[in-house]
């Protein structure tokens, strides 16, 4: 099997990338760019049961397990959220369920995006992470 970069190493890569930006504009332009580049989710998956609650925008996410690893696909109608999802997918997709569940996600604080983790109705990052971890747990118990 192809070697998978560990979660912590990907997190470090992202932290390094963000350290190059010295203004909020650069940071958000990067996130927006990631959002625009995230492939659109096929329409068949854009249904009620794949929606993540707790987001002001609509977020759909699906996951599957292959050879003990979890793969995610997601989409949103808001581009910043889509960029954040893209970043989460980069960190989690293809990892082992147990690694996903135990990831501390400290890098979000390190890149200055922890405001998106605030427990308000408008920020969905927390809800997305929760759903990704729940999916990982569910796949893990089926294996």
């Amino acid at each position: 099997m192809e070697a998978v970069t560990p979660i912590t190493a990907i997190e470090e890569e992202i932290v390094d990338e963000f350290s190059l930006f010295d203004s909020w504009e650069d940071k958000y332009e990067y996130i927006i760019d990631m959002g625009k580049k995230l492939p659109a989710l096929e329409d068949q998956y854009k249904k009620e049961e794949n929606k993540i609650r707790g987001c002001q925008s609509t977020v759909w996410m699906v996951s599957e397990a292959k050879d003990g690893r979890i793969f995610y696909k997601a989409d949103s109608d808001a581009v910043i959220v889509k960029g954040l999802i893209s970043m989460l997918i980069r960190v989690f997709s293809g990892q082992k369920a147990s690694d996903i569940v135990s990831a501390d996600m400290k890098f979000i604080d390190d890149i200055g995006m922890s405001t998106h983790l605030a427990q308000t109705r408008s920020n969905g990052l927390r809800a997305m992470i929760r759903q990704m971890k729940l999916d990982a747990m569910a796949w893990n118990s089926k294996q």
Binding site: W24, E25, Y28, Q56, T58, A78, V79, I80, R121
Partner: protein, 413 residues
Amino acid sequence: MESVLNKKTLDVQVVREQFPILKRQVKGYPLVYLDNAATSQKPKVVIDALVEYYSNYNANIHRGIHTLAEEATAAYEQTRETVRQFLGAASTEEIIFTRGTTEGINLVAYSWGRANLKAGDEIILSSLEHHSNMVPWQMIAEEKGAKVKIVPISDEGEFNWEAFELMLSEKTKFVSVVHASNALGVINPVKKIIEAAHAVGALVMLDGAQSSVHLDIDVQELDCDFFAFSGHKVYGPTGAGALYGKRALLEAMPPFEGGGEMIKQVTYEWTTYNDLPYKFEAGTPNIADTIALKPALDFVSSIGKDVIRAHEAQLLEYATNELKKLPGLKIMGDVKDKVSVVSFVMEGIHPQDIGILLDNQGIAVRTGHHCAEPLMNRLCIPGTSRASFAMYNTLEEVDSLIRGLNKVIKMLR
């Protein structure tokens, strides 16, 4: 402060001096607070009143015979008199303190609804309603087998008068409508609605959450049966609001909650209830915030709602004109008769993205469905971005909003 008084035009810099929070920086930018329809900031007199209460005369009210209790009771009851004047009610017995508009509506839905509604009765609401003037009626209607009917609106959010007239019948028992829409700012033709509803024998409640800070309220002149508002949207503290109800109706209604304060006599077998307004105020109320609501209302009166309205109308007109110049921007509820709220959508840009990018520039607006999901569905949009103006906002802040939105467009398109 002196120069604010007795002036026909508002000196916005003098007003701003009264609001300590406006000196704040957010993310390195001066705060531009345009989320006043959600809650307004508080003038120093309100903050001082809270500190003064807890520092000098904190006590439970109405029962104690000691000095502190007497002082606290007097201050609390003075707010009731100020609210009476603020709403133009005939008597302080018609003023019931609540946590805010939502509690006022729930009180009427449960107390009046439980005692009076029966299967087949109809309750009429408008399409503009906030969830808080929708859900309590759906709940009581379900319990009693009554039906909730919704008056449609035009694409701009205007009340469909013809449809309303067709809905009214002897089955109509209650009409509850928002005075001014929180999501769009549109003002409903409440005087006409009240007259028409009364003609078929229905009662009318007005949700005054947005109107009370901007419009002159005279419940006797309006002849509404109930009127609810929240103090925190009128520069007062959160958790302190009031419900007005006509005395005869309130007297006939059963209590909403049971407990201390609302009783006259209690035995192990039976209880007799206190007189108005205490019958509806069970338990220790929110004393501090209610006391600090008085200086908020006095502050508004000292400047004059007409003076504030003229200032806000100028902000609204300027913002509306400038926003329309932005490519792909559409104002929702672009009508003449509205309070100082401007709600808009931008082609290809989600409101949440707008909110996040404006926040990074120190600009606070509200984005989303504004707790009016059925209205957003009716308008076929996921939500809007909403800027809402208060007495302390400036034309320069409108310029900041426009600059901020230009940056949003540059970053997202």
